[in-house]
């Protein structure tokens, strides 16, 4: 493997030790994107000139004996909802594409650049992050590198596909009701949805503010931890960002799982799931020694509450655009937004009340467990146009299936790491590891242990490997 498809830590180590220049890495990465992106349509914009300039600056600082940062010369890309100074943030929308370029770079992107990472471009997404297919009317479909007839998931589909195809070693996405977790599962990448309020969202286009998180995709837990550590820190310009101490995950990453207690929720999280997805959870649960955890009979209501809050807040956030430019919305998202206008206020109030009650109930799940192990999706990546999937002998609507295991957890804002399990059918499946608020470090430790012991693995998709 050459550096162009290497993991972030390998690239940074090579540049920091003078084995390669940042310019050489970035040139090779841009060439690889030019050759392979047309196959999957992950990028919506490249920032080649900016990237080459930053790489040259890193090489110059190396020559001057300065520390170029822990992510020196590592290429990355971000979902097209992060502001990047001098570039237009489209948010998957035709309407936003007409806006002027951003004046300031999003906080977490700037922190990565300050650490030496080199931004290559914007990545495709569902319009305004509303959906699980990344089948965008304006910017096209993003295809799953493991099977080009299938979705890479959404809404951060471009972010996941770019990592799974080896176009970049890491990327940023966002997660409201599962938009990091589902694409990570469908593309076999590691994904992190941190605690709500842990990472700054300043400079990102919000979708449902009370659920929105930013977070990374990568092919190793080590990279995930390294990226996460760089992005941590209070930011007063994001009103929900919590002023909590930075808790670096990388230093303790290899300390194993001794002392951690794992649980596997039963009931809702064990029902309505196909065989490969169930096998992935079985595999991870068995390796971690997870014990059964009884779930209350309220997960359907939790999903419903998240659905109502999403509908109302999403519509409220786009009311101006809907009132003046509704015809310019992607038809696949337009009516979801509009339907939010019809949601009675009493339902929204009940959903928020339920959320408060559910958050209290969820604390009990962790009284005897540090980490819960759950599936991401009841099915592996569906094909474009597929409306139903066979699950446990029944044909069920895809639109009801994809959010089943991720949307209820949106109410909690707890940290979740998705770990990938390669499937026997050539398609990966994902497993959620959920911990207590602000205990991302424990989740990443568990993910690292699973990788070290061969339980989980993120491979560049077969058709995109160099060999």
């Amino acid at each position: 493997m050459t550096l162009v498809t290497a993991d972030a830590k390998v690239v940074a180590d090579a540049i920091r030790t003078g084995q390669s220049s940042a310019s050489a890495v970035i040139d090779a990465a841009l060439d690889r994107i030019a050759a392979n992106n047309p196959r999957i349509n992950a990028f919506t914009a490249l920032m080649e000139d900016d990237a080459r300039r930053q790489a040259e600056a890193i090489d110059a600082s190396m020559r001057e004996g300065k520390d170029p940062g822990p992510l020196a010369g590592v290429p990355f890309a971000v979902k097209d909802l992060y502001d990047v100074a001098g570039h237009v943030t489209r948010a998957g929308s035709k309407i936003h594409a007409e806006r002027p370029p951003a004046k300031k770079t999003a906080t977490v992107v700037q922190r990565l650049q300050n650490a030496g990472a080199v931004l290559l471009g914007h990545l495709n997404m569902e319009e305004y992050a509303y959906g699980f297919f990344t089948d965008n009317e304006h910017y096209g479909r993003t295809l799953n590198p493991h099977d080009l007839t299938r979705t890479a998931g959404g809404s951060s589909g471009g972010s996941a596909a770019a990592v799974a195809a080896g176009l970049v070693p890491f990327s940023l996405g966002s997660d409201t009701n599962g938009s990091i977790r589902v694409p990570a599962a469908f593309t076999g990448t590691y994904g992190l949805k941190p605690t709500y309020g842990r990472l700054s969202r300043a400079g990102s286009v919000l979708f449902v503010s009370s659920f929105d998180h930013v977070g990374p995709f990568a092919r190793t837990p080590t990279d995930l931890a390294c990226i996460y550590d760089v992005m941590q820190g209070y930011d007063s310009t994001d009103p929900v960002c919590r002023d909590v101490p930075v808790a670096a995950a990388l230093p303790g990453l290899a300390t194993g799982i001794a002392g951690l207690r794992f649980g596997r929720p039963d009931g809702y999280f064990a029902e309505v799931i196909d065989a490969p997805s169930r096998a992935a959870v079985d595999c991870v649960s068995a390796a971690l020694g997870a014990r059964a955890v009884a779930m209350p009979n309220c997960l359907d209501a939790a999903r419903a509450a998240a659905f109502v809050i999403t509908s109302v807040e999403a519509m409220a956030g786009r009311q101006v655009e809907l009132s003046s430019r509704y015809a310019d919305f992607d038809p696949k998202t337009r009516y979801r937004f509009l339907a939010g206008a019809a949601m009675p206020g009493a339902w929204y109030a009940k959903a928020q009340a339920f959320r408060g009650w559910f958050a209290e109930a969820a604390k009990e799940w962790f009284s005897e467990n540090d980490i819960l192990v759950m599936p991401v999706s009841p099915v592996q990546a569906p094909q474009f146009g597929q409306s139903e999937a066979m699950v446990e002998g029944s044909a069920l609507p895809i639109r009801l299936l994809l959010a089943r295991f991720v949307q209820p957890l949106a109410l909690l804002g707890y940290p979740i790491v998705v770990v990938p399990v390669p499937g026997n059918n050539g398609l990966p499946a994902g497993v959620q590891l959920m911990g207590r608020p602000f205990e991302e470090d424990k989740l990443l430790r568990a993910a690292a242990w699973l990788e070290t012991n061969g339980v989980t693995r993120s491979d560049i998709a077969v058709g995109f490997r160099e060999d």
């Binding site: 605690t195 709500y196 309020g197 009370s210 209350p296 009979n297 309220c298 359907d300 209501a301 999903r303 419903a304 509450a305 659905f307 109502v308 509908s311 519509m315 009311q319 809907l322 009132s323 509704y326 009516y335 979801r336 509009l338 339907a339 206008a341 019809a342 949601m343 009675p344 339902w347 109030a349 009940k350 959903a351 928020q352 009340a353 339920f354 959320r355 408060g356 009650w357 958050a359 639109r399 009801l400 109410l411 909690l412 804002g413 707890y414 608020p437």
Partner: protein, 79 residues
């Protein structure tokens, strides 16, 4: 915790009485859109009403869920 959830169909009928009546549902959605400053052609209203109705299948369990008495409706969520 009490969980006596009625079937979605009856919930829809009870909670949003005209929902099983398509013209009435479309009228309800049209009025809601207008209250939000959205004046749309009939076809757009019909498609929005259809989307709203699809969502009811997901929403039904919340409507039937009985929360404890005296729960503070202001909400206290914080991760």
């Amino acid at each position: 915790m009490k969980d006596e959830r009625p079937e979605p169909e009856s919930l829809i009928a009870d909670t949003l009485a005209p929902a099983t009546d398509q013209p009435a549902l479309r009228n309800y959605v049209d009025q809601a859109l207008k209250l939000n400053g959205l004046v749309l052609p009939a076809e757009e209203i019909a498609l929005t009403a259809a989307e709203f109705e699809r969502g009811l299948e997901i929403i039904a369990p919340l409507l039937g869920f009985e929360l404890p008495d005296r729960l503070d409706l202001a909400g206290t969520f914080r991760a």
